[in-house]
C-alpha cells in the first residue's frame, strides 16, 4: 500500500516536471462540447459523461451534486485526455444534477466549469448536505464544544472581574481557557472550511479550504471571537481598576460574534433573532463566567467570598431573565407549533437541553432562595452546600455546551419546512452590481432553486440605460465547490435575458455579469446572491 502511494507521488512529480518542461508548447484548454449536452433532460441516467476539450487535460476535482444536494467525488472515476470521461455511479436519482469539473491542461492553468443535466425532469435540490468526513465532523463538534467552554469560562471569567475581584486560581483557569480559545477559534474555521467543501483532513493546508471557511458567515464569527479572547486575556492579566470593563467589552464582542452566524441568527425575523442570540449569549457569559470564581471563593472560605457572593446575587437576575426570555423566543421560532417537527434531531437536542436548563435553573433558585442568605451570614454547612451546588451547575453547563455544539449538524425544523414549498412561487431576487462606470440590475425570477430566468438591465452610473454589445452571466459557488456556470444573454428591448437557467442548489452564489460595453471594453460586475 505504502509503495503504491509512493509510486503515485513519484508519478505525480514526474507528471509535474513533464508539464513544466513542455508547457510552452501548449495553449490552454477549452471545453468544446459535452455529451450529454448542457441543460438536457434525459429519459434515463447516462452511464458516463464525456467532456471534449481542444487538448489533453488531467482531472483535478470532479464532483457530481445530485438533486438531493449530496455531492460525490468522481475524480477517481474520471479518465483524462482530450475526451475526459466521467463514469457515473449506477442508479443516480431522477432530477437535476450538476457535474462540477476542474481540470488542468498542459500549461498548468487549471480551468473549471459546471455541466447541468437532468434525468426525468428538472428539479432544484433543496439544500446541499455535503457528505462530510466523519473525522472532520467529530473534530468540528469537539472543537466547537471546547470553544464554547473557553468562551463562557474564559471570557465570562474576565467579565466577572467587573463584579468582584477574581481569586487567583480562578483567574489562572480563565486565562488558560481564554488563551486556548484564541488558538481553537481559527482551528474551527479550518474545520468549517473542510466541512463546507466536503473535504477530508488531508486538505487542511489547501488555501481554498481557509477561503471557504472565511467566506461562510462563520468567518466573521471567528474573527470577532478571536478578538474577544484577546481582549479577555488582556483583562485577566491587567491589574488596572478598569480591567473588569475590558472583560465586559470582551463579553459583549463574544456575544455579538455568536449572533453573526448560526441557525438561530439566520432565522427570520432577524430584528428579533439576532438581538435574542446576543442577549442569550451575554446572559450565559455573565452567569457561567461567575460560577468558577465563586466556587473557588467558597472553597477558600476567604473574606472576599461574602462580598463577591452578595454582588453576584444582586446582578444575576438581570442576566438570567433576558437569558430565559430570549431562549424561549428562539426556541419558539426554530421549532414552530407542536407537531412532528419537535421530534426532529434538532428538536430532540433542544429537549435535552431544556431538561438540563430546567435542572440548572432549579439549582440556581435553590442557591439563591435557600443557600445564599445563610452562606452570607457565615453558616458553614450552607457554604459547602452552595459550593457543591455550583460545582453541579458547572457540570451541567459543560453538558449543555456539548449538546449545543451538536446543533451545527442538525438544521432546525424552521429551515426544513419551507424547502418543499419554496419552488412554488418565490419572489424574484433583485441585485445591483456596479463598477466604476457600469451598473447591472439583475433580476432572478423566481428567486429560488430550479429553472429560473435572468433579466439584466445595463445602466450607467446616472441610471440611464446603457447600450452593450453582449452580456454574459456567470454563477459559481465556491462554498459548495461548484465551478462557474456561464450563459450568454439575449437582448430584447434593452433587457438582456437568459431563460431556463438552472440553479441547482440553494446557498450563496457568486455572480458575475460580463458586459461587453464596446468591442474592446469589458466590464466585469461582481457580487453575491443568496438563493433560498
Amino acid at each position: 500500500m505504502r509503495s503504491l502511494t509512493r509510486c503515485r507521488l513519484l508519478a505525480s512529480l514526474v507528471l509535474c516536471l513533464v508539464l513544466v518542461a513542455i508547457a510552452p508548447a501548449f495553449a490552454h484548454a477549452q471545453l468544446l462540447s459535452t455529451q450529454p449536452s448542457e441543460d438536457v433532460v434525459l429519459e434515463v441516467a447516462p452511464a458516463a459523461i464525456d467532456l471534449n476539450f481542444n487538448e489533453p487535460v488531467t482531472p483535478l476535482t470532479i464532483r457530481l451534486i445530485g438533486p438531493d444536494g449530496g455531492a460525490r467525488d468522481l475524480t477517481e472515476e474520471t479518465t483524462g485526455g482530450t475526451t475526459t470521461t466521467v463514469t457515473l455511479p449506477a442508479g443516480i436519482a431522477d432530477g437535476t444534477h450538476v457535474l462540477s469539473w476542474r481540470v488542468v491542461s498542459a500549461d498548468g492553468h487549471p480551468i473549471g466549469g459546471s455541466l447541468i443535466f437532468s434525468v426525468g425532469a428538472v428539479t432544484g435540490a433543496a439544500a446541499v448536505e455535503m457528505a462530510s468526513d466523519p473525522a472532520v465532523s467529530f473534530a468540528l463538534w469537539a472543537t466547537k464544544a471546547l470553544l464554547f467552554m473557553a468562551l463562557f469560562a474564559g471570557v465570562g471569567g474576565a467579565a466577572f472581574k467587573s463584579i468582584a475581584p477574581l481569586p487567583v486560581r480562578a483567574g489562572f483557569a480563565a486565562l488558560t481557557l481564554a488563551i486556548a480559545g484564541a488558538v481553537i477559534a481559527p482551528t474551527t474555521l479550518l474545520l468549517q472550511g473542510l466541512d463546507a467543501l466536503g473535504l477530508t483532513m488531508a486538505s487542511a493546508f489547501d488555501a481554498d479550504t481557509w477561503a471557504a471557511g472565511l467566506s461562510t458567515s462563520y468567518g466573521a464569527t471567528v474573527i470577532a471571537t478571536s478578538l474577544a479572547f484577546l481582549l479577555a486575556v488582556y483583562a485577566l492579566v491587567s491589574t488596572a481598576p478598569w480591567a473588569g470593563y475590558i472583560g465586559l467589552a470582551a463579553s459583549a464582542i463574544a456575544a455579538l460574534s455568536l449572533a453573526l452566524s448560526g441557525h438561530a441568527s439566520a432565522a427570520e425575523p432577524q430584528w428579533l433573532t439576532r438581538p435574542a442570540v446576543f442577549l442569550h449569549v451575554a446572559g450565559i457569559l455573565l452567569w457561567a463566567g461567575a460560577l468558577l470564581p465563586l466556587w473557588h471563593l467558597l472553597r477558600d472560605r476567604s473574606n472576599a467570598a461574602g462580598q463577591s457572593l452578595a454582588a453576584f446575587s444582586k446582578i444575576i437576575p438581570f442576566a438570567v431573565a433576558p437569558l430565559v426570555l430570549s431562549g424561549a423566543a428562539l426556541a419558539v421560532i426554530q421549532l414552530g407549533p407542536p407537531g412532528e417537527r419537535w421530534w426532529s434531531p434538532y428538536g430532540l437536542i433542544l429537549g435535552a437541553k431544556l431538561l438540563l436548563v430546567a435542572t440548572l435553573l432549579g439549582l440556581a433558585l435553590w442557591n439563591r432562595l435557600w443557600l445564599t442568605a445563610p452562606a452570607l451570614s457565615g453558616e458553614t454547612s450552607a457554604q459547602s452546600n452552595l459550593r457543591r451546588s455550583i460545582g453541579v451547575e458547572l457540570l451541567i453547563i459543560v453538558l449543555i455546551l456539548a449538546l449545543v455544539a451538536g446543533w451545527r449538524f442538525t438544521p432546525p425544523p424552521r429551515a426544513l419546512a419551507p424547502m418543499t414549498a419554496a419552488t412554488v412561487a418565490a419572489d424574484p431576487i433583485v441585485e445591483h452590481l456596479i463598477d466604476g462606470s457600469t451598473m447591472a440590475m439583475v433580476m432572478i425570477d423566481p428567486g429560488s432553486v430550479g429553472t429560473v430566468s435572468f433579466q439584466v438591465t445595463i445602466l450607467d452610473l446616472e441610471h440611464n440605460p446603457k447600450g452593450a454589445q453582449a452580456v454574459s452571466v456567470i454563477i459559481a459557488n465556491s462554498q459548495l465547490g461548484i465551478e462557474s456556470i456561464r450563459r450568454e444573454a439575449v437582448e430584447t428591448d434593452g433587457i438582456w435575458a437568459i431563460h431556463d437557467f438552472a440553479i441547482p442548489v440553494a446557498g450563496h452564489w457568486q455572480i458575475e455579469v460580463g458586459v461587453r460595453v464596446t468591442r474592446f471594453e469589458l466590464a466585469r460586475l461582481r457580487g453575491e446572491i443568496a438563493i433560498p
Binding site: L9, S12, L19, A27, L32, L60, D206, R519, L522
Partner: protein, 173 residues
Amino acid sequence: MIRSFARLAVATLPLAAIVPAFAHSTLEVQQAAIGSSYKAVLRVPHGCGTEATHTVRVQIPEGFYNVKPMPKAGWTLETVTGPYQQSYDNHGTTVTEGVQEIVWSGGNLPNDWYDEFVFRGSFASTLEPGTFYFPSIQECENGEEAWIDVTGDKNAQMPAPSLELVPAKVSGH
C-alpha cells in the same frame, strides 16, 4: 493525502510563475520605460477553440502614439485613426491624432499554428508607471477570442495583453 498535495502542486504551478503564460495572447516584451519607443510583438498561440483566426484587432489606448503597424503577407492591414485626448510631442512636432485601432484581416491562422503581429509606437512621457494594456481580439468564422479583460484579476480567463511601464531612467537618452 499525497495525491491532494500533488494536485495542489499542479494547481499552484501558474502562481509559481514557472510556466510562461503562453496559453493567452501576450506581448513578447513585457516591460518598457515611460517616454520610450516600443516594438510590440503580439503572440497569438491558438484559434477560437478549434477554428482558424482570420482577423486580429488591436486597440491602441491613449498614451501610445506615433503608431506604425507592420504589414503581414497574406493579411490585409488597416488602421482606424482618430483624435487623441491629449497632444504629444514627436521630436518637435505636436501630434494630436493617430492610430487607435489596428486590423489585420483576411488571413488564415489555423488553431494548430502560431503567429506574431507587430506594431511600434511611443509611450507618452505623461503616462504613470503600472500595467498598460493593449486589448486585442481574434476573430474566427463562428466566434472570437476577446483578450480585453483589463481588471488585472490573476484568474481572468481572457486577460488583455499587457506590459509594465516603468519610470524612465534619470540619465535620459
